[in-house]
Symmetry: C2
Subunit: 342 residues, 2 copies
DNA sequence: CTGAAAGCGCTTACAG
DNA sequence: CTGAAAGCGCTTACAG
């Protein structure tokens, strides 16, 4: 019975309506779970859908209703565990809202970013969560507003005119510095890497300000390679500045991981000879030895926030731009120790 | 000029056609880069698109052309770095093919998997790459063929009737065992975790077979917790079986990472007191200390393969089902040492 | 609560 | 190479 109507998968709402002996409009109301339809009718239509193997055609619905139930997410990178956690958080929220997520990779470069943004527009997404690529031009906000497409920035921001879900990186740095100072450290170094963007600046400035607050030298900022397996080799750079740090704060856990390896190679014992603090507190921090003290930024929570902002923006496009800056939390484990009075 | 036509973003192909003084059909040909249109005409149309800020409406096109330029990817988990690398590989290939990727999370459970699969069908994806959830029912193949939707299995497989892009896990285990044997190890343990599926069975069987080939006890298979931070605490279980292993092969690098932490906590020196081999060879392996010897499965390459299979399947739906099993490669680093004759 | 009509923005034959 | 017409499968008012 049911199979014969189905050549080439073409069961349409009209077929369902006929089968259930109602009008197409009524069938449409049933699919969309409208309360206008009587229980008995609804049941009949639903039975018809089952029997015919009906599959809702979102594409057709979108064309008429101007809503695609699809959002776009563009990140600079897919393989970084931090972004993986971020995406995981987003996926959960997006799914709960009955939407679906198209993900795109900007490679952290403006040209590719422009291309994927265009592609997402063509696909008619209802909105976009964008972690702006390093070097994103200033006119992003005006472009986006021309598009009349709901957009929220995540993790990084290039304009105040667009919603932003991020983290108080500066406060996180402050927590880290404060903690190390409380342990007696003074020669504290900040090891950075990767592309430069708002989250980068906020961390560096947070570090400098905090150091100054404690009347400490704020300029021990050194740059390490991007890839974790190369950071280890560069750990020497930390000690080549004329002043030997007793503690180092890392741009993220990846840097911490690489540096930890480098220290190991040099026979330095973390948490004894040198103190180490990570940033982000991704899953590995707990599995490092000694366990890594790290400033937690809860990427999956940021993912939730970004989706929440986007959904509200979609519902009310004229809302004033909003910021959702979440707090960090220093997760103290075993990689720092009091400065031995030597 | 250009702004006024654009109230509510509604520049349509017809507007472009009028502006360029051609018919709608011709404009359509230009968007699709058909060679049928003369260079001069094409240029005029393209100029019109630019001036009006035209955005191609993929949704409308799909409705008529029955192609969405969208593929679905369903994975059991988003935050595992292994899947992150897999997705990264897929994204590159998908993007290069001019498509876009909807990603969905099955949570490694059949009910959610069924839901997301349904959702992807509703969104009219051109095909699906599925890493089947543990416990996926046997009728998957017949369901999928009812759907007439191109599908390829990745990493795991539940049927031979659907394309599959995977890895020769058994051969990988064999490499690992062989290497340890060559170092003189006999009491070799396999530490597994996570849900049970084809890739799990293949690894366990690969281990057992290889051990038997060398006339070694094949039943030192122990189970550790799923989360990396809990594995460390369970490292003792390795030594509670009456026989103390001198080497352990891990189900994946995550297990290796957790176990390494556990060994550290017990004062065991990896690569001296005990040998350790990981599986997958994700980025961290290089940053562990001692550096982790691991069986590389090249997840991003599998991602490429899966996309390639899917694109071919979409182009030729009647092709017989195919398998693309890629080889593993043992990446020897510093976590294993010869068994000291004691 | 239900029906008949129009239309979302494109592509597809089919004539010229 | 170009035009006019029909239609993809839905939803949206608008009447009943």
């Amino acid at each position: 019975m049911s199979r014969q109507d189905q050549k080439r998968n073409k069961v349409t709402l009209l077929d369902v309506a006929k089968h259930a002996d109602v009008s197409r409009a009524t069938a449409s109301l049933v699919v969309r779970k409208s309360p206008l339809v009587g229980a008995e009718t609804r049941e009949r239509v639903e039975a018809a859908m089952r029997e015919l193997g009906y599959v809702y055609n979102m594409g057709a619905a979108r064309l008429r209703a101007e809503r695609s139930h699809t959002i776009g997410v563009v990140v600079p990178n897919l393989t970084n565990p931090f972004f993986a956690e971020l995406l995981g958080g987003m996926e959960a929220s997006v799914d709960a809202a009955g939407l679906v997520m198209i993900i795109a990779n900007s490679g952290d470069g403006p040209p590719r970013q422009a291309a994927v943004l265009q592609r997402l527009r063509e696909h008619g997404v209802d909105g976009i969560i964008l972690c702006p690529a390093a070097g994103t031009p200033d006119d992003l906000a005006s472009k986006v507003s021309d598009w009349k497409l709901p957009v929220v920035q995540a993790l990084r921001h290039v304009t105040d005119d667009i919603d932003y879900a991020g983290v108080d990186y500066a406060a996180g740095m402050e927590e880290a510095v404060e903690y190390l100072v409380s342990l007696g450290h003074q020669a504290i170094c900040f090891a950075v890497h990767g592309p430069v963007h708002s989250a980068y600046h906020e961390r560096v400035q947070g570090f400098r300000e905090s150091m100054k607050r404690f009347s400490l030298k704020p300029d021990l900022v050194i740059r390490v390679p991007d890839r974790v397996d190369q950071i280890a080799k560069e750990a020497d750079a930390l000690f080549a500045q004329g002043r030997v740090p007793s503690a180092v704060i890392c741009f993220n856990d990846l840097v911490a991981h690489g540096l930890a390896a480098g220290f190991y190679d040099r026979g330095l014992r973390i948490g004894r000879d040198i103190s180490l603090i990570g940033f982000d507190d991704v899953a590995d921090a707990e599995a490092m030895r000694p366990r890594l003290t790290s400033v937690s930024t809860s990427p999956s929570e940021i993912g939730h926030n970004a989706v929440a902002l986007l959904l509200e923006r979609i519902a009310q496009p004229s809302l004033p731009p909003r910021c959702w800056i979440s707090a960090t939390k220093l997760h103290i484990r075993d990689s720092c120790s009091p400065l031995s009075s030597s």
